[in-house]
């Protein structure tokens, strides 16, 4: 006798079992359909694992290269007397360190040959106070030493200059046409930074820069380091108030610009992941449309022996979800491995250019949840429409020969995708 206790789990379990067996009967098609979910989930998961690690490493590296939290110039962009400005800024609460610099862009005649800057046509000559600048910019040297207060005719170059002028190294010298005529600078050190190689940053002492630009005793930029944990915007407002309208404050924008560019780059990879998932959804949709036609007889038979429309819909949705679950699980694993390889590769880049030889992979809940939700939702949404169509199969359709028209219609719709799957 039929017992009256309704066990919904028994029905779901049976549907799952049938789904697994039907999928197993068409293994190649199942694998190809599931692969699209795998790729999509893996790509999105990997990107969202790598991105925070890369951002963290980049931010950390940026503080050790340029360091300054705020940068001050005159509103007219002219040079100014450093002492009153430096004193006023240093007196503002939560300002940790200040340094005056004189910085100018240089266009170079092509000199060529030895003792030149190679293919460089533009550079930034930056005059710094060798002591105070270290409080704002903790320079990391890859070779040689940094400038000392009594240095004259000495220069520090970015390590990346080797790409433009391989012959330049510690102990060599190069010429610059300055306001005082042709002057040679001897390289005493290389800083471990890539910098902007379209206009390499060449550090000299402030006195040398003032002489080169014929601006004795003047600077044109004050760089400021803010105490850790302090509200940078509030400190900037206090400095602006102290200096008045003759000076302009810029938050050091290089870091945020670069981070934004990095985020855009990663977002593009995310888009690729989304595209793969869309393809997955399309494949699942087409596959299950074909499945409904292929299995019309079985579905109708189930309807004949008492399955409701909802149960038939549930069966196809479960089958689609099985692919979603398997695809998502493999995708998460694949994404993790891709992320591991990615941070390994990026670690080499940061070791070369950012003086940081490692990246820490951060497993974070949003990345996991996001990938899981996307993978499952893709399968669910793509499987639902064919499943609804399956639920509408009438019991009699399994007891009569399939109508040629309906088969042809379905065949036309799914023909090209099946060809693709078989390819």
């Amino acid at each position: 006798m039929t017992t009256k206790t309704h066990d919904f789990r028994a029905t779901v379990w049976q549907m799952t079992l049938m789904g697994l067996r039907y999928l197993n009967r068409r293994r190649l098609r199942t694998v190809l359909t599931t692969l699209a979910i795998v790729f999509g989930v893996a790509l999105i998961f990997a990107i969202n694992l790598i991105l925070p690690s890369a951002q963290e490493a980049f931010k950390h590296s940026m503080t050790s290269i340029t360091g300054a939290d705020l940068s001050i110039t005159s509103a007219s962009s002219e040079s100014f007397d450093p002492d009153p400005v430096l004193q006023q800024v240093a007196g503002v609460e939560h300002v940790e360190a200040v340094a005056g610099i004189l910085r100018r862009q240089f266009s170079l005649p092509t000199l060529g040959g030895n003792d030149s800057l190679g293919s460089t046509t533009q550079l930034q000559l930056i005059g710094v106070d060798a002591v105070s600048i270290q409080d704002v910019h903790p320079f990391v040297m890859s070779e040689g030493r940094f400038l000392q207060p009594d240095d004259t005719g000495k220069a520090v170059l970015p390590a990346g200059i080797a790409e433009l002028a391989p012959e330049l190294g510690v102990g060599t010298s190069f010429p610059l046409i300055t306001a005082g005529g042709l002057k040679f600078y001897t390289v005493v050190g290389l800083v471990a930074e890539q910098g902007d190689l379209s206009a390499p940053q060449i550090y000299v002492t402030l006195a040398d820069a003032q002489a080169a630009f014929n601006q004795p005793g003047l600077i044109n930029t004050v760089e400021v380091s803010v105490e850790a944990g302090a509200d940078q915007a509030a400190v900037a407002a206090d400095i602006q108030q102290a200096l008045g309208d003759n000076y302009r404050l810029n938050a050091e924008s290089n870091t945020s610009n670069t981070l934004a560019a990095m985020q855009i780059g990663f977002a593009m990879f995310d888009m690729l992941g989304a595209l793969a998932l869309f393809l997955g959804a399309f494949l699942i949709f087409n596959t299950f449309r074909t499945v409904v036609v292929e299995r019309r007889h079985d579905l109708a038979m189930l309807r004949a022996v008492g399955a409701t429309r909802r149960q038939i819909t549930l069966m196809i949705v479960i089958e689609s979800l099985i692919q979603g679950v398997i695809g998502t699980a493999i995708g998460l694993l694949g994404g993790f491995l891709i992320a591991l390889a990615g941070v390994n590769f990026m670690g080499k880049i940061t070791a070369t250019y950012l003086n940081r030889g490692w990246l820490e992979l951060q497993l974070n809940a949003p990345a996991i949840v996001g990938a899981v939700v996307l993978g499952l939702a893709t399968a669910l949404v793509a499987g639902y429409l064919p499943a609804r169509s399956a639920g509408k199969v009438a019991p009699l359709e399994g007891l009569r020969p399939a109508s040629a028209a309906s088969v042809n219609r379905a065949a036309r719709w799914s023909l090209w995708i099946n060809q693709l799957e078989r390819a």
Partner: protein, 248 residues
């Protein structure tokens, strides 16, 4: 007391001037525990009548009563429930789920009705034993002969102990030995378990196992033959009667 009966049951296919009446104003009553055979020439509406009786198709007009329930008035969900609990089906082409074992195929109506799987599987095994397939429970349909598949389908129809079993040409795709086995089992279900069976067939030899035969022509009942108490082996007599109906 009739377990199932119809009132002016009509099914018309097509619309307006191209309409074809497959079943036309049929009044039929089937008693509880009766074995009824429906016969008639091709296109007489036998299968359509069976589908209407089984709630597999909806009538254009008229009613089908299963005990107190008007099948023609039920919504789709209720009709599905009636099909899985109160009706059993055996079709010509077996209609088993190819990915399920014999036992799972038999358990399907129970599981769809929410019976816990272990209990459903137990009842399925009992039903398979009744049809002589206790040793084939784990076989897939593709691993069974046609006769064995039809016996699995019969076990599936029996497992819910339905009010009525409807069989549409159940021997139409079987050799004579398998046909005999299947129809003898149907007969036994009526005799031993008081099951009600409505069978559509064109084979007088199979119809001879029934208690009563109704003859259909052009969607209407045109003749009837009560076999109870008679020699049920007189297939020739039925064949003659069928010929008369066909050429009348």
């Amino acid at each position: 007391m009739s377990i199932i009966h119809t009132e002016s049951l009509t099914k018309i296919y097509g619309a307006a001037d191209q309409s074809i009446p497959a079943v036309h104003g049929v009044n039929l009553a089937v008693e509880e525990g009766e074995f009824l055979a429906i016969m008639g020439p091709s296109g007489s509406g036998k299968s359509t009548l069976l589908y209407l009786l089984g709630g597999l198709d909806r009538p254009t007009s008229g009613r089908v009563w299963l005990r107190d329930a008007d099948l023609s008035a039920l919504n789709d969900d209720d009709l599905s429930r009636v099909r899985r609990t109160a009706l059993g089906f055996v079709f010509q082409f077996f209609n088993l789920i190819p990915v399920l074992t014999a036992q799972e195929n038999v358990a399907i109506p129970l599981i769809l009705d929410g019976v816990p799987r272990p209990e459903a599987m137990k009842q399925a095994k009992t039903a398979l034993t009744q049809v002589g397939l206790a040793d084939r429970t784990r076989h897939l349909p593709s691993e069974l002969s046609g006769g064995q598949q039809q016996r699995v389908a019969l076990a599936r129809a029996l497992v819910t102990t339905p009010a009525v079993i409807l069989a549409d040409e159940p021997t139409g795709n079987l050799d004579s030995r398998s046909s005999d086995e299947v129809v003898q089992m149907l007969r036994r279900a009526v005799d031993d378990w008081k099951q009600t069976i409505i069978l559509v067939t064109h084979d007088p030899r199979i119809a001879a196992y029934a208690d009563r035969i109704v003859f259909l022509k052009d969607g209407k009942i045109v003749d009837e033959n009560h076999l109870k108490g008679q020699d049920q082996g007189k297939a020739d007599q039925i064949r003659v009667q069928l010929s008369k109906v066909a050429f009348s």
